[in-house]
Amino acid sequence: MAIHHVTAPVAGAAARTRPPEPFKERAARPPEPGPVRSGRPPEPFGNRAARPAGSRAALLVLADGRFPAGGHAHSGGAEPAVKTGRVRDAATLEEFCRGRLHTAGLTAAALAAAAAAGLDPLVLDEAADARTPAPALRAAARRLGRQMMRAARAAWPSPELDALAAARPRGAHQPVVLGLAARAAGLAPLDAAYASAYEAVSGPATATVRLLSLDPFDATAVLAHLAVDLDQVAGTAAEAAARAVREGAEALPAPSAPLLDITAEQHATWPVRLFAS
């Protein structure tokens, strides 16, 4: 696996590892008519034949903040962070998002990539439970997973989605469903990791605009600043998923953020709140 070390152009940031570059591979691929792509470049791991080749643009649909899967009602921990003053402006929002991205975000992105790579979604669902110690966050993940399932089955009908919906009628963990949706859309594990990782920061950023009346341009700039981190997390997640294909789900990373877990439980007891989590 080719990994290029580059120095990030962010002041004060350490050199970051860049993920494998599917964009270049894909850009080099000549456009083909029709839905079947034959000249697809070699993929990092197997299980590709079982699913349809899709359009890369499906990633835009999946990662769109307007994808109707319930995310708008969740703050990703931003609501309690705003209340305690830990998030109070664009700078603290950025550090919050960076921390969330490299912890809960990476965990979710790796689960999503693994589901897209064809790992057993029920094994991944169990791995997600073990990686989500806060019951409020397990409940939110399953609720969002069920909502994601509804949207995904409408957008990309697939027997694999049907099977998971039947096996987990109350909802599987959202990253697992997202990864399986990406797979149904013909997207690659890295694509699923990108969608999941981006969601880990776009949720809190959008919520903070509502909670703090933060300037939406500042919030968008925060997301733009996190692009290098997003590349890194998505790349790490996809590599881990490739390892998990060979070694099992335990090879997936499990980074965690103590304050997100603690404050999620506090938030769940609030009688009055704007966001579901």
């Binding site: 708008h72 909670l211 966001f275």
Partner: protein, 232 residues
């Protein structure tokens, strides 16, 4: 490719929108109630429950800006047993939850039907929002838009999707008209101009029997819908 499921699209994701559920039973009629803040949506829901609960099996889904406020009002008023009231959290955007991303509401409706058994009617109440907030047709069969006279008699003339397209426009708090200098006949004319043949109910929900025009309309809708889907 698995994309050619033309025969069951789009019912696949909104399968709950079909009148007949997978187990062969008929699902409940779903009616949405929207409208600006403070016009009496929750009071209308409460009054409808009181008027209809002896003849129909009813449940309510609320969509609040703040968690549970409306659900708790309904609980306090004891218009329905608690297991028949469900609150959807909307992330400060009720109009998103009833129109753009209805997934949480669909789940709440389905869960109510699963948990309390066959229902005749589910009322989906939106949190107070602006004049453009309407319900998705994927979520409700009919929608009621509630405005009141104290918001000004020019609201029907201004129109907007809620006023123009709702299946029933309720103009509430008519008892206040003399105090706020509102011309009810003018409002009726403007509404007629905006809505054509769609009905308008002038009410004072809090008065004795005030909900009658609304509950009668709901009964008619339910009867027609039931007849239509029994034939199908």
């Amino acid at each position: 490719m698995h994309l050619d499921h033309g025969n069951d699209f789009p019912e696949r994701h909104t399968h709950s929108a079909e009148a007949i559920r997978p187990d062969g039973t008929r699902r409940a009629l779903r009616i949405g109630l929207g409208g600006p803040v403070g016009t009496g949506k929750t009071a209308t829901v409460a009054a409808l429950c009181r008027a209809l609960r002896d003849e129909l099996s009813i449940a309510v889904v609320t969509n609040d800006i703040y968690t549970r406020e409306d659900a708790e009002f309904l609980l306090r008023e004891a218009v329905l047993p608690p297991e028949r009231i469900s609150a959807v959290e909307t992330g400060a955007c009720p109009h998103t939850a009833i129109r753009d991303d209805i997934s949480a509401n669909l789940e709440a409706v389905e869960d109510l039907e699963d948990q309390v058994g066959p229902l005749d009617l589910v009322l989906v109440e939106s949190g107070g929002d602006n004049l453009t907030a309407t319900f998705s047709r994927g979520l409700v069969d009919f929608q009621i838009f509630v405005i009141d006279v104290s918001g000004g008699d020019d609201i029907p003339r201004k129109g907007g999707p809620g006023v123009t397209t709702a299946d029933l426009l309720v103009v509430n708090k008519t008892d206040l008209a003399p105090y706020v200098g509102v011309d009810l006949e003018g409002m009726a004319r403007d509404a007629k101009a905006q809505r054509g043949d769609l009905p308008v109910a002038f009410t004072s929900i809090k008065a004795e029997g005030g909900v009658r025009p609304v509950s009668d309309w709901v009964r008619e809708r339910l009867a027609a819908w039931t007849a239509e889907n029994a034939a199908a």
